[in-house]
């Protein structure tokens, strides 16, 4: 049975292997260059004691390669569309299922081995691409501390493996239900993109309860606040107002510096209108004005850098579970419904 799967899919396996090999060569070459660029920049800045500003002055790597690496976010989706979608749908659409299922192999076994190899391939290719990208990105991660940024988080570590398994399982399930290849591919693309965005934007930050840290104004007077370090994920920030926390509209937006090194600035629009003119005339006076209006300080809500792998694990788990449910649906349909 494995031989049959191989014979039916070996051409696309060759193509995928060639693409992966080319990508690997490119990343190995440029990754080594980038690592040495980073290390020589570190050595240079250490000599002149200017390393704190390195992230703003150093641009790592070739923009075209960086763009290609960013685009690997589409790899799981492509596997779902081109491997998963047609896998069962094409057999049903062309009627070859009536050939395959009338040999002396039970349908359950046919399905287990066909789907099994598709998932193995998805995990292998997803893992290989992600492994290369993770290794390639290590100087960028060390420099920019942006590991939680979706553009980094989604293409590094183990989540791409979860996405790939989910995408291929989704393609298989949709194809089995629709019994038509091209609509299955289209719907796989849409559903995959939608669910990835929803989980990434609306659910990811709630996987673990974020830490909220509050700071008083004018912290020069002996009080040393705990400022998160490394590639932490800033979920929210704002003022501690008289009636509770007042988050700014955008956690990553600029605005007024709050006077504590390492803390993000606050949006102007969140200040009481009486205090806003002071921002330009008397920045120090802003804090007195805020205190006079009942504001007691600032807060940030964040996920610490130490939780990176926990988040990777949870997100991967979520997608693997969805994939498992989709495979269960596929099995039920294939085993119960007419060929």
């Amino acid at each position: 049975m494995t031989w049959v799967v191989w014979r039916n899919h070996r051409n696309q396996t060759y193509v995928a292997a060639a693409a992966l090999a080319a990508f690997a060569v490119l990343l190995l070459v440029t990754g080594r260059q980038m690592a040495s660029q980073y290390h020589s920049a570190l050595t240079a800045c250490a000599a002149s004691h200017a390393c704190s500003n390195l992230a703003n002055t150093l641009t790592l790597g070739n923009p075209a390669v960086s763009l290609l690496v960013t685009l690997t976010v589409a790899v799981p989706c492509l596997m779902g569309v081109f491997w998963g979608g047609p896998l069962v749908a094409r057999e049903l659409e062309t009627g070859t299922s009536q050939f395959a299922w009338m040999q002396s192999v039970p349908r359950r076994r046919w399905l287990t081995i066909t789907v099994g190899w598709a998932l193995v391939a998805a995990a292998a290719w997803g893992g290989a691409v992600s492994g290369l990208v993770t290794w390639w990105s290590s100087p960028v991660n060390a420099l920019e501390h942006q590991n939680f940024q979706p553009s980094q988080f989604d293409i590094q570590g183990i989540v791409p493996v979860g996405y790939a398994l989910f995408a291929v399982a989704l393609g298989i399930a949709v194809g089995t239900l629709l019994r038509r290849t091209v609509p299955a591919m289209a719907i796989t693309l849409v559903v995959f993109t939608f669910l990835r965005l929803v989980i990434g934007q609306d659910f990811r930050s709630h996987f673990l309860t974020a830490i909220t840290e509050k700071f008083g104004f004018l912290t020069r007077q002996g009080h040393r606040p705990v400022v998160p370090t490394g590639s932490y994920w800033l979920v929210s920030k704002g003022l501690v107002g008289p009636h509770g926390l007042v988050p700014t509209s955008q956690p990553n937006g600029g605005g007024v510096s709050v006077g504590v090194r390492g803390l993000p600035s606050i949006n102007l629009s969140n200040l009481p209108s009486a205090c806003q003119p002071l921002v330009f005339r008397n920045p120090r006076g802003v804090f007195s004005c805020l205190t006079a209006h009942g504001y007691r300080g600032l807060f940030i809500t964040y996920q610490p850098a130490s939780r990176y792998w926990a988040f990777q694990g949870i997100e991967t788990g979520v997608f693997v579970l969805i994939a498992a449910a989709l495979i269960a649906v596929t099995a039920m349909v294939v085993l119960r419904r007419d060929a």
Partner: protein, 303 residues
């Protein structure tokens, strides 16, 4: 019946298949003894494909029971090995060659005669290493038939197997089939529109019309049971009381009756004659659908 002691290849009891609103097969009760070549005949949409797919286990019945080769349908490899099915659309992997299909069969079947497929294709001058998609329709049909036979099944279910073949190839294939059955251990059910072809090869008949079984039995016995009466236009109530009237055609001067006989017909006004397979089939079709709409093709290509 003379065949009652023989083992039975197919036995169904009130087998039904309903799709959402359409009834494809309604309460079909049939028996096919082992060793028969059974002709499954009926107009388009009568349920022939549905019946074959139910027997092959590719479709699930919505009612009734089916036993094949003395067993209920199952997904056990040993059971699957005994059933050969060829769908009407001749499903093959278009990008693979005949040789690839032979190799696939060898991997998926414990009993597999790949050499027989090669011999058959070589004798028909069909290339083994060419993509199936580039073969002609007739060549694909021959390949698919050879692959179905390579399993060495005990029950062969063929849906319109000769539709894609030219008349000579059709005759050769049916002869090939008859030989395989004569070698023993094989029962065949094949559906077709072409009564003339089937008459030469088949010894058993399943007649479907309007998703119901109209007739099922050995052809010789069925022909012996039926007769055609020709006579003047007159009252036929007496005949209809003693015999089953299948079809009556009444013109101004003459009455022609197809009856399923129950002993001899005594009325001297009627002349009795034996019925041919085609006449019998058309008679039952006409009975169901009205003489004007018997869709059966009796000669030539389908469509």
């Amino acid at each position: 019946m003379m065949t009652s002691n023989n083992p039975v290849a197919i036995r169904t009891h009130e087998l039904s298949k309903r799709y959402r609103r359409v009834t494809a097969l309604s309460e079909a009760t049939i028996t096919v003894p082992e060793g028969r070549i059974s002709a499954l005949i009926g107009p388009n949409g009568a349920g022939k494909t549905t019946l074959l797919r139910l027997l092959a286990g590719l479709a699930r019945p919505t009612g009734g029971e089916v036993a094949v080769l003395g067993r209920h349908l199952s997904q056990e490899p040993a059971f699957l090995a005994d059933i050969g099915f060829l769908a009407q659309e001749i499903p093959l992997y278009r990008r693979l060659s005949a040789e690839d299909h032979i190799a696939i069969g060898a991997h998926l079947n414990s009993r597999w005669d790949g050499a027989a497929v090669r011999r058959r294709l070589e004798s028909l001058a069909i290339p083994l290493d060419q993509r199936v998609g580039t073969l002609s329709g007739g060549q694909r049909a021959q390949l698919a038939l050879a692959l179905t036979l390579a399993k060495r099944p005990r029950l062969l279910l063929l849906d319109e197997p000769v539709a894609a073949l030219d008349p000579l190839a059709r005759r050769q294939f049916l002869a090939h089939l008859a030989e395989a059955v004569a070698d023993g251990g094989l029962t065949v059910v094949l559906s077709s529109h072409l009564v003339a072809d089937l008459e030469r090869t088949c010894d058993h008949l399943i007649l479907l019309a309007a998703s119901r079984v109209q007739l099922c039995g050995d052809i010789d016995a069925l022909l012996a049971e039926h007769q055609v009466l020709t006579g003047p236009r007159k009252d036929t109530t007496a005949i209809e009381r003693d015999h089953t009237l299948v079809q009556a055609v009444r013109t101004a001067r003459q009455t022609t009756l197809l009856i399923r006989g129950n002993g001899p017909v005594i009325d001297p006004a009627f002349e009795t004659s034996a019925v041919g397979l085609e006449e019998l089939v058309l008679g039952y079709m006409g009975q169901r659908a009205g003489t004007g709409s018997a869709y059966l093709t009796t000669i030539g290509e389908v469509q």
